[in-house]
């Protein structure tokens, strides 16, 4: 319980700083933000109205507290170009991104877990060398290029999957899943490479420990030793990487969503950047950072479940 409270308290200063950084964004615009948003030809009335709407006519500290107050009530402001609440825009876009994140993560796990275990168990054999080299290759592939290559192969040459578009799952489950296959492959390959490398090195650290030798000496076969003893003890760094990955994906699927025309959260940010809708950019960036903070918190709490030594404050070593 103490661990949970301590971890929750540590989140407060991070949230405070995240809020300051996000708030500062609109004030980092060189010159007057209202002038930059409206352009030089805007009438003085429109300019003044936008300044009032953005709260730029108030002292900066006052602006910050007003903004934080609104954020705490779930009000992220009004989109400058779409004239709808930013929170509504984000809520509309999040489901597609969450689905893509889950799909990508599942794809990455399916590839990473068997190859990671195999590479560690067959260390310094051709299996290890090949999978490690392929993983390094996977980490080096730009996902937007891979996305184009899978589109060329699976859509242009063989019309197996649609190249773009998104249908909500509850509208048409089959069309939804078909549309998600290519984006999940394009993004998941790199993530699987990262996970596989982490799992391999983590397993190699555990595999030579005394308790593993004892398990083997007791006559346990290799599969039971790996799955029952080694894997659980090697999981902590893998869970950390997975957590960071999920958090990063939730806010960072910008490119995949752009290529496959998925109306997700990342694409909302890109569209808002080009429309100079700074209020939406500000709100979306705040949400993406909050997602990371929350996922990291959940991952830390998960540690305590995986390794009871953390909960009791004795550390993992």
């Amino acid at each position: 319980m103490l661990f949970v409270v301590k971890r929750l308290l540590l989140t407060i200063p991070i949230l405070f700083l995240v809020s300051i950084m996000t708030f500062s964004l609109i004030h980092m615009i060189p010159g007057d933000p209202a002038r930059v948003i409206l352009g030089q030809e805007a009438t003085p009335e429109a300019y003044q109205a936008l300044r009032t709407e953005l709260g730029l006519d108030q002292p900066i500290v006052q602006q910050y507290f007003n903004w934080v107050g609104k954020v705490l009530r779930g009000d992220l402001g009004m989109s400058i170009t779409d004239h709808v609440p930013v929170s509504d825009l984000i809520l509309q876009r999040l489901p597609a991104t969450i689905e893509l994140t889950i799909g990508t993560f599942i794809f990455a796990l399916i590839i990473a877990i068997p190859t990671g275990i195999l590479a560690a168990v067959r260390r310094n054999t051709w299996i290890d060398y090949t999978s490690s080299f392929l993983a390094l290759g996977g980490m080096s592939i730009p996902n937007f290029w891979l996305a184009m290559m899978v589109i060329i192969y699976f859509t242009v040459e063989h019309t197996w999957f649609p190249s773009s578009g998104y249908v909500p799952f509850f509208e048409d489950p089959k069309a939804n899943l078909m549309a998600m296959v290519l984006p999940c492959i394009a993004t998941g390959l790199r993530e699987s490479a990262v996970l596989m490398r982490m799992l391999r090195s983590s397993l190699l650290e555990v595999v030579n420990m005394d308790f593993v030798r004892t398990a083997k000496a007791k006559g346990l076969n290799e599969v039971k030793t790996i799955l029952g003893h080694v894997l659980r003890n090697a999981l902590i760094p893998v869970v950390t990487t997975s957590g960071l990955m999920v958090a990063g994906l939730l806010g960072g699927l910008v490119i995949t969503e752009s290529i496959f025309s998925i109306p997700g959260f990342g694409r909302l940010i890109v569209e808002s950047v080009f429309k100079r809708d700074y209020v939406t950019v500000q709100g979306a960036i705040l949400v993406s950072a909050l997602l990371v903070v929350v996922v990291n918190l959940l991952v830390d709490l998960l540690y305590a479940v995986i390794d009871p030594r953390i909960k009791s404050g004795k550390g993992a070593d």
């Binding site: 390094l136 184009m148 490119i255």
Partner: protein, 276 residues
């Protein structure tokens, strides 16, 4: 000589170094290697498949893709060096000083700011900074450098924390050596290995990030050839000219792989734990 031999034995690291050397040579001798002016439009040679005259084919404006890929290497090298350079200039001194002096500023100000910065997904942070400062290569580099600086702070600080209590540092302190001299003369040289490894891997990330921002239209602006912006322009040609996307992407892949291989090789070479 022994050291060079030992590095040569890392195999894949050597392959990475060769790829990067090749990239540097291509960037330096781009005018001699390119077969055409990378920006010259030839409306009689639009969307030609790879052939003897146009090795990688031509794009929808009749520009030679091979020559654009060759010149694009310059942008990628610049991106790698400048973005990691900015990140190191910001991150390494902060890591050195906070790790050495510790205390309230380290624990409650700098490290919490680093935590908060790392809460923003890397590309989103770069995107936001580019959005605010405006598109263009310089701003993209600044955005990537700032986004990447926290990792240098963490790595440098971690090293300093483990080195500050070493006997040679305590000995230097006890004979009255000034803090600055201890930090830059004694601690930094011993903390360099992980910083070098991180900067090599960071260059790979820098190239990918530049290509991503250019792909989104926020990095290098047309007509300057950059691999990311070439992919952006070729995306609409996927069904008619797949080669227009293949070669720039392949170039990014090979170069990023080169930096990753070199980073891995250096890790094996410089880190005794990884060597075992």
């Amino acid at each position: 000589m022994k050291t060079v031999k030992r590095f040569l034995r890392t195999g894949l690291g050597l392959l990475g170094a060769l790829i990067i050397l090749l990239l540097i040579l291509v960037a330096i001798f781009a005018p001699a290697i390119a077969t055409h002016d990378p920006n010259a439009q030839d409306y009689n040679a639009i969307l030609q498949e790879p052939n003897a005259q146009h090795l990688f084919g031509t794009d929808d404006l009749g520009r030679d893709i091979f020559s654009r890929v060759v010149y694009g290497s310059r942008v990628s090298i610049e991106a790698a060096i400048v973005s990691v350079g900015i990140a190191m200039i910001i991150g390494v001194p902060i890591g050195l000083f906070t790790g050495y002096y510790r205390g309230f500023w380290d624990e409650w100000v700098v490290m919490r700011i680093i935590d908060a910065m790392q809460a923003f997904p890397f590309l989103i942070l770069a995107l936001a900074i580019s959005a605010v400062l405006g598109s263009g290569f310089g701003n993209a580099m600044l955005a990537i450098g700032i986004g990447f600086a926290p990792s240098f702070v963490r790595i440098t600080r971690g090293q300093v924390l483990s080195l500050r209590n070493m006997e040679y540092v305590q000995a230097a302190k006890s004979v009255g050596v000034k803090d600055m001299r201890i930090i830059f003369g004694h601690i930094l040289p011993n903390a360099l290995s992980p910083i070098i490894i991180q900067s090599t891997l960071g260059m790979a990330t820098g190239i990918l990030a530049e290509a991503s921002l250019s792909y989104l239209g926020l990095g290098v602006q047309p007509p300057t050839p950059s691999w990311g912006s070439m992919l952006n322009q070729a995306q609409s040609l996927l069904s008619v000219a797949p080669y227009a996307t293949f070669y720039p992407g392949l170039a990014i892949f090979v170069v990023v792989l080169g930096f990753n291989l070199l980073g891995d090789g250096l890790q094996q070479f410089l880190d005794p734990k990884a060597r075992k």
